[in-house]
């Protein structure tokens, strides 16, 4: 019986790592946007926090784009 255990291991590691990274980026971005909103409501400037938030969300967006790249066969 042939089972490709190596491929199985890689799939497991990559799946778990990608899910965790995407969630960290998304959740941190959401947290920072919210923090920036609260800051500006209190009269302060939330610009730095907000830009950092968009960088993180942008990275999450890149992951989504990479996923779409993987799905569409014409790209590779």
């Amino acid at each position: 019986m042939h089972v490709d255990w190596a491929a199985l291991g890689i799939v497991a590691v990559v799946s778990i790592a990608t899910s965790v990274i995407f969630t960290i980026l998304l959740a941190s971005g959401i947290r920072l946007i919210s923090a920036a909103k609260i800051k500006s409501n209190e009269g302060g400037s939330g610009t730095v926090t907000l830009s950092l938030a968009y960088v993180l969300l942008g990275l999450a967006g890149l992951l989504v784009l990479f996923g779409i790249y993987l799905i569409i066969p014409q790209f590779h």
């Binding site: 019986m1 042939h2 089972v3 490709d4 491929a7 199985l8 890689i10 799939v11 497991a12 990559v14 799946s15 778990i16 990608t18 899910s19 965790v20 995407f22 969630t23 960290i24 998304l26 959740a27 941190s28 971005g29 959401i30 947290r31 946007i33 919210s34 923090a35 909103k37 609260i38 999450a60 989504v64 996923g67 779409i68 993987l70 799905i71 569409i72 066969p73 014409q74």
Partner: protein, 401 residues
């Protein structure tokens, strides 16, 4: 003439299978967003149907073989394909009636294996392939996706613990919409080509197409439209089980399980260890429930596990019985079509007794088939029988929308 009739029948049946494939699997992408209210039910199925159609049209490389290595390719004949498709359709419809997610690919393999066993004996089936391609992935998929979703869920809640939920809900809903769309697109590219492969093989077998050529344009469009229509019709019974039945899904949890589902599906499709979309999405939802520390209905999970184990033999049994008729020429084929129509009608009528639509999909967590199978005190409205604490949660899910 006889051959042409059989070929047309098989193509029609293949498209019907594609349709059941669509509505069986629309929950894989959309159960999460529908349950959290990230996307409204109607919008969700329209989006999923469109992405499935696009995905199906994008897939250029069609599987050269549909035997999947379970048996030798030369055993595949047109009657075997017909019987296999029938087994898969009936299994998909029965599991839909019960609201159970099960893998459409496993159903198709099961149907074909059953038909081959009747035609060529049990020795012609490679048993170890069943273990390595069906049993093992069915255990691995929910484990991998479940662990990924559990960790992602813990992190999502941990990071946004102090964030006002008004802010976090919006963000997570956007994230969920993206991951769900990816799952729908990936589903179209992988499952759309299954039907195209079947139709192309039948056309080649009937000498209507050159061997070694790809699917024709009308085949691609027909398969894409069939899977898209199936997805649009919703499969609301399965959507309810996955979105409400296993565990109540909150917004951050939904985003985390969506991320785990798309990551696992893409990793398995591109790194050489194929996993079923159905098993992966179910595993993610289960895992996200565990990660949040929510009350998971393990009885529902157990029922699904039984359905997964029974998919291959169940579809195989129907496929095997169908194989007895499918090589009896026109009479056999006509008889099979009549039986298929009767079976579809019976299942449809049974499903009407407790109808689940886009309007009531998130109202309860139970999919009922026969009122008589339950205590007689149940009123007709399935919404009234949800236990009290679940009822209390309902407005919460609504207000998040």
């Amino acid at each position: 003439m006889t051959e042409l009739f059989v070929v047309i029948t098989v193509i029609a049946v293949a498209l019907i299978f594609d349709f059941t494939n669509g509505f069986h699997d629309s929950a894989n992408a959309m159960a999460g967003p529908v349950a959290t209210g990230a996307i409204r039910p109607r919008t969700a199925v329209i989006l999923a149907a469109f992405l499935n159609l696009v995905g199906a049209c994008l897939s250029t490389e069609v599987a050269k073989t549909i035997s999947g290595g379970f048996f030798d390719d030369e055993l595949i004949t047109v009657p075997i394909i017909l019987a296999g498709l029938l087994g898969a359709i009936i299994w998909n419809l029965m599991t839909w009636l019960l609201g159970l997610p099960s893998s459409s690919s496993h159903a198709l393999f099961g149907g074909l294996i059953g038909a081959v066993v009747v035609g060529a004996g049990i020795a012609s089936v490679h048993g170890w392939v069943i273990v390595s391609k069906v049993l093992l992935p069915a255990i691995v998929a929910p484990l991998v996706a479940g662990v990924a979703a559990a960790w992602a869920t813990r992190l999502a809640y941990g990071i946004t613990r102090k964030t006002p939920s008004v802010h976090s809900a919006t963000g997570f809903k956007h994230g969920q919409a993206f991951t769900a769309s990816m799952v729908a697109l990936a589903h179209g590219t992988s499952d759309g080509q299954k039907t195209m492969g079947v139709i192309t093989l039948v056309l080649i077998a009937a000498n209507l197409q050159q061997p070694g050529t790809g699917p024709q344009l009308w085949v691609i469009i027909a398969a894409g439209v069939a899977i898209g229509l199936g997805t649009y019709s919703g499969g609301w019974r399965i959507m309810r089980t996955m979105g409400k039945g296993i565990v109540e899904i909150e917004t951050p949890q939904g985003a985390a399980s969506g991320a785990a589902t798309s990551a696992t599906i893409l990793a398995s499709a591109h790194l050489g260890f194929g996993l079923s979309t159905t098993h992966v999405s179910t595993g993610s939802i289960l895992g996200s429930g565990v990660g949040r520390g929510a009350e998971v209905r393990w009885s529902v999970a157990r029922r699904m596990a039984f359905a997964w184990l029974l998919t291959l033999p169940g579809a195989g049994l129907v496929g095997g019985l169908a194989a007895l008729l499918s090589d009896q020429g026109v009479v056999g084929v006509v008889a099979l079509m009549v039986l298929l129509a009767v079976a579809c009608l019976v299942i449809y009528i049974l499903s009407r007794r407790h109808k689940i639509t886009h309007a009531n999909v998130t109202d309860s967590h139970e999919v009922l088939v026969l009122a008589a199978a339950r205590p007689a005190t149940y009123p007709d409205d399935p919404r009234l029988e949800a236990p009290k604490p679940k009822k209390a949660k309902k407005p919460k899910a609504k207000s998040a929308a």
